[in-house]
């Protein structure tokens, strides 16, 4: 059985020559920006390895951090960048039912028409009830898909693959609520995973054939004589170029190029009779362009590598405006140059994501002090990262996924086609309590109010938290200040004095001994610190 959409028309092969930019990003005038030099092995210590695991991965445990330190930067980055080399026996069988939301058959349609004509209220009511039953069943399956992905995020030994899958989900945001087809959402998720670290150009071609996206942005309703502009507009505005880099005319012409791109059941189909074969001019490319011609015209714009690079940079390093015109003046000139040079390299590599990220994750720039421990964790990073980095048990995934919703990142339900705003918008007084309380649940097993009152009985052995690879235990030594510092370093990446003082005072007021209860208390306090929301 197929996990991925089988396009009815073969996916076009990328001809590298086709991809040369019409208006290439000018090669940076000066020499390489110094901060893009690779970080030296001797500069890659605990803090840097931890930073890499959180930013380019999904958080790291004490043991993983130490392992990466011993590997050094190059081997560590290569490990993250090459998920296909990491063995990961994930069940290959398709566990989800693709038939729940199948469109009505010809007979069903006929029956409905008859009932309508005869004003047969009973039959009509039955049809409606059946539709509601299916919708209900599909929402149930959607919850299963959510939990499936969450489990994968928590367990995967290929964290960057999932992190990039989440990036694409945020960029090509599609909301289940609108399309009401859990299987399509699942398929789209697999599409993102397939191209997670591959070619953005290929993914963009895939997305104009993706049933979930085609339904979400109404391209399945786009007809030759009445093109729907939604998909063409959002592709240029949000998925590739950014505002100001195209005209309303490009949208109109782009919409014509995309007519006939639709789907049947679970696969893409190109409806020839609904496709406008006429000549269009999109971003100064003229011809009888189809969807691929539209994508090609976009990929030839210098705005495209710039826009995607900036989105990636915001995701991995620090928030920057999506466009040079949007406040670049505020950025230090070195950072502006980094952005330019990365965008140039991205365009040169024909939109290959891997070399771009390699350059970034190996650069001194990535490890600059001002970026360390100052990114607000997304709800997914908070929850998944906590379980992974603290070796906490995987608790009831329904509760975890509800918590994500309460924290503002219900996966598969982004608030709009713009995706999640991220950054500071994650945090307000209400979500801060949810974040702190979610951690308390992970650690203690005490369920949040509203769930059955029984505690999750999976035990969390906090005494192993700081063990190094040799099984050497700081905790067994009973070194209270040492344990406090190590715990802060693991959870926050540094050791604020206020945290250290509070922990020492807490241990003292509890008898001074590092027993399991006290250690758990220390960890509860640390994970409720405002700094814990950052990575």
């Amino acid at each position: 059985m197929n996990w991925l959409t089988q396009p009815a028309t073969p996916e076009p092969k990328t001809d590298p020559a086709e991809l040369s930019l019409d208006n290439p990003v000018p090669p940076p005038s000066d020499d390489m920006e110094p901060s893009l030099r690779p970080i030296r092995k001797q500069d890659f210590g605990y803090e840097q390895a931890r930073h890499l695991l959180w930013r380019a991965g999904l958080g790291g445990s004490e043991q993983q951090i130490r392992l990466l330190v011993s590997w050094g930067p190059e081997k560590s980055v290569e490990y993250l960048l090459n998920p296909d080399k990491v063995e990961y026996p994930w069940p290959k069988d398709d566990a989800f039912d693709k038939n729940i939301m199948h469109p009505p058959t010809a007979e069903e349609r006929e029956m409905y028409r008859k009932a309508q004509r005869a004003q047969d209220e009973d039959t009509l009511a039955e049809v409606r009830a059946e539709r509601q039953r299916r919708e209900q069943e599909d929402r149930r399956q959607m919850r299963d898909v959510q939990k499936w992905w969450l489990k994968r995020l928590i367990e995967t030994p290929r964290p960057l693959e999932e992190k990039m899958t989440l990036f694409w989900h945020g960029l090509f945001a599609t909301n289940y609520r609108t399309i009401e087809n859990s299987y399509h959402m699942f398929q789209q998720n697999q599409l993102f995973r397939k191209h997670s670290l591959g070619s953005y150009a290929e993914l963009l071609r895939g997305i104009i054939r993706d049933p979930a996206m085609l339904a979400y942005l109404n391209n399945n309703q786009s007809k030759k004589d009445k093109p729907n502009e939604n998909l063409a507009r959002e592709i240029m505005e949000l998925f590739s170029l950014g505002v100001g880099n195209y005209t309303e005319r490009d949208i109109k012409e782009g919409a014509r190029a995309l007519t006939g791109y639709t789907f049947e059941d679970d696969g893409f189909v190109f409806e020839k009779k609904n496709h406008d074969t006429g000549v269009k001019t999109i971003l100064s490319n003229t011809g009888p362009l189809d969807g691929d011609g539209f994508v090609k015209a976009i990929l030839a714009q210098s705005a495209c590598p710039k826009y995607i690079t900036r989105r990636l940079y915001s995701y991995f390093v620090a928030d920057v405006p999506p466009d040079e015109r949007g406040g670049d003046k505020e950025l230090p000139s070195a950072q502006r140059k980094v952005l330019q040079q990365l965008a140039y390299a991205f365009g040169e590599s024909r939109y290959q994501v891997k070399p771009l990220l390699r350059k970034l994750f190996l650069s001194e720039h990535f490890y600059e002090a001002r970026f360390m421990n100052d990114q607000i964790k997304s709800p997914v990073m908070l929850a998944v990262g906590a379980v992974r980095s603290l070796n906490a048990p995987v608790r009831d995934l329904t509760i975890v996924s509800d918590a994500l919703d309460l924290m503002g990142q219900n996966i598969f339900y982004p608030p709009s086609v713009k995706g999640w705003d991220g950054g500071r918008s994650w945090i307000n007084t209400s979500t801060l309590f949810v974040r702190q309380n979610t951690l308390a649940f992970f650690l203690s097993g005490k369920k949040p109010q509203g769930y059955d009152s029984s505690a999750d009985t999976q035990k969390y052995d906090v005494t192993k938290l700081l063990d190094n690879a040799d099984g050497e235990s700081l905790i067994a030594k009973g070194d209270v200040p040492g344990v406090a510092d190590a715990m802060l370093r693991l959870t926050l990446g540094w050791t604020p004095k206020a945290g250290r003082d509070a922990l020492l005072e807490f241990v003292k007021s509890n008898g001074g001994k590092l027993d399991e209860r006290v250690l758990m208390g220390m960890l509860l306090v640390v994970t409720a610190m405002p700094e814990y929301q950052l990575c």
């Binding site: 945090i427 208390g521 610190m529």
Partner: protein, 444 residues
Amino acid sequence: MTTPHPFTRREFLRSGLVLASAAASVPSFINSSALAMNRAAGGLSSVPGVPEDHVLVVIQLSGGNDGLNTVIPYGMDDYYKARPNIGIAAKDALKLSGADGVGLHPQLAPLHDLYDNGELAVIQGVGYPNPNRSHFKSMDIWQTADIGATGDGWLGRYFDAECCGFGKGESGTPDGAPKPEAAGPPGIAVGRSAPLAMEGRKIKPVAFESAELFKWSGADIHKTLREPYESLNNRIQGEGPAARKGSNSEFLLRTALDAQVSSDLIRKAVAKKPQTAFPGSDIGRQLGMVASMIRAGLKTRVYYVTHGSFDTHSAQGGAQGRHGQLLNQFAAALKAFYTDLKAQGNDGRVMTMSFSEFGRRVAQNKSQGTDHGTAAPMFIAGPMVKKGVIGEHPSLRDLDEGDLKYKLDFRSVYAGVLEGWLKADSKTILEGTFKPVQVLAKKA
């Protein structure tokens, strides 16, 4: 023990005097929010004509409330033909003065009292084009005020546009982040999660089932955890990255402090028993909490409560029975709410609006219930409302596949509330032009 900062939160709360002396040395965000809070404590009760003082309470009737058995069209024979078993007899319907042929369900007697006092508007036949009969979808449509059911919530867009309800142009922070919430967040929803309606781009609502949940749960695990937690979440001065102005660390420290203040404020407010006895129903409890928060002087502009189980597919009853019980809980709670607000002197500041995601089909089904339908009435309560029945009752003959055709777009009602009561620009917020329904008796 860590040395407490000389100006801790508790001291701000105690008196304005401390504030005055502290003013020179504390960061401005603390200073201004604490001042605002102090004003609030001084009693905002009734300052007529000041838009900042207007409060909107939204009551969501979840599950699809049967509009035809809420406002009874007893003057129409077709009503009784379509509903031989569950129809409400003309003699039982509570007549609405000034309106012919329609009356309230007998269990809505407390609401009828409000009507007679001139404190209730009944808006008939509210809906939208191409009605969606999925609970899920239709609720999203009502909450986003968008027929495609996409985008932010309509109240969220109001918060965004009006800068937290703290007055236009006050959101001052360079990144457009909301102001500290020390005087209460702009929107509070009672419930496990906030409704989509209140989700804005910038402004996110606060939601809690009970005020006790609006706090750190870790302290319940062991009492000795409270002290280190509070000391670490009440820091004014950060170290490391937080010492750098404009850093995310600094922002987190500030929000943590705000959360503690908000949590204290709200829990203290709700802990105070209302002056009026509220019914023991869940909606009674929720409105009791809202009354307490209003009384405590929170600057919150919109409260949101939910009353559920209106999905009466079977055995819904007539004048008595399950649907009637739900209506009675709603009406009794709303009446107690206004009685309490009157005692506080705050009734003139608070408008309440109720809605449901859809009404139900005209004809009863075979299980003595009703299935998902379309248009239904809304209620708007408060001494400021234009008393009476607004709009026309939909025809029971001219149906769309057995469903009522709506007479008034719900977004016109929203526009009326936004323009009339919240003094906001409905075109921006609703992202379209809808003729505002006049909901106020006179200019407020």
